[in-house]
Symmetry: C2
């Protein structure tokens, strides 16, 4: 035997239980043994078994309730974690050259829709439109509103060397956010900027972040055709 990396015990237990469910030894809706019992079976402490079971519960594979015990989930939802890095890193991870262009930078009161999403009253904010390019081809068009009250130094910041995207992520960690993923037909503006035909189908990400109750930014990112988000689960 060579190179068999030892696996944490909790992980091994989780895998064992997972396998029993997959192998239909324990079927959806079935109750499975309680932690103390599993601890004895696997020769582990209850804490370790608990950690293992929480892993499975986080995946949605089992459902746990005090007193009622643990059951195999009936209709487990697919739970997949999307990781969305800064655009520059996405491009570079693809082996392409990245650069970006600031198309517009103005100060104004955002449209109702944006204010509503941010939960803000009428307030002047900064609108920054950026085109991200990969090997000089349009990769994503970003249309962003930033609350100056949530990002000190915004007015003085220079976004030629670093994109707003990266500047915000790096200097203004948020405490919570919302993400919407949808599909939209390219508007004439999208089309012109991304250099595609109007009406082309685009993957659009919409993201809003807050620091406590203070809105930081609201951004719509329209990706060039062909872009897909991928994740394993």
């Amino acid at each position: 035997m060579t190179g068999v990396r030892t696996q944490p015990k909790a992980r091994a237990i989780a895998d064992s239980v997972h396998r029993r469910i997959v192998d239909r030894i324990w079927r959806p809706g079935d109750q499975i043994p309680h932690e103390a019992e599993l601890a004895v079976e696997f020769g582990a402490s209850r804490a370790t078994v608990n950690k293992a079971m929480q892993l499975l519960a986080d995946q949605g594979l089992i459902e746990r309730r005090r007193k009622a015990g643990t059951r195999v989930a009936i209709n487990p939802a697919v739970r997949a974690t999307l990781s969305i890095p800064v655009v520059r890193e996405q491009v570079e991870a693809n082996g392409q050259d990245y650069h970006h262009v600031v198309l517009e930078r103005i100060e104004a009161i955002p449209p109702r829709e944006v204010l509503d999403r941010m939960g803000a009253g009428d307030a002047r904010m900064v609108r920054l439109q950026t085109l991200h390019l990969a090997d000089d081809l349009p990769f994503a068009f970003e249309d962003r509103w930033v609350n100056p009250g949530g990002a000190a130094g915004l007015a003085e910041a220079d976004f030629t060397g670093i994109s707003v995207n990266e500047w915000l992520v790096r200097y203004f960690p948020y405490s919570r956010g919302l993400l919407e993923v949808g599909s939209e037909s390219a508007s004439p503006r999208d089309a012109r900027i991304l250099r595609v035909d109007a009406g082309t189908s685009l993957l659009v990400l919409h993201r809003t972040t807050w620091n406590g109750d203070v809105p930081i930014t609201d951004v719509r990112v329209a990706h060039a055709p062909g872009y897909r988000m991928r994740t394993a689960f």
Copy 2:
């Protein structure tokens, strides 16, 4: 004071550290105190501090390495967990009536592309096309290949009362899967089935699941216009 739910200590510690990062007391790239030190500061055991820090590391907010210690992440990626329930539950959660129609059920050898994704050699599989409806309006069009070798009882199963989607999820837990989210223009077939114009922009989810190395199913779900995936992070 009323109704202030007690919070797990690990969570409270994680929130405190999160706040210090958000408040720029600890900035991106900074090293933060090691676990033993935090344990003393928060009056907790090291195990509890470890749990708290793992929560933050899972969110991508901090990066931890043995010996090197813990640092605030420089360009933290947005990490959001998507939960994708069975289609019926999505529709019903929306307060709408659900039903589905099986459009086609044949046995054949899938196209190269599908076989490649599943990592399967030439093998006969079952193709099931299903239209999911919400209040009698098209909600999603599902085009699925199922490996009979991975789903015993498939040939005998009746999908009028329960959709393949739900049948598989309920009776055949997978061990791993891949998810791709993209945007596509409605093909003539998509358009006819979803009752939209050809070329309409559709959100398309592509999912493949395995049980160990045995492919179970490969499915493309095209959603009716307007559908969005939402998640908080």
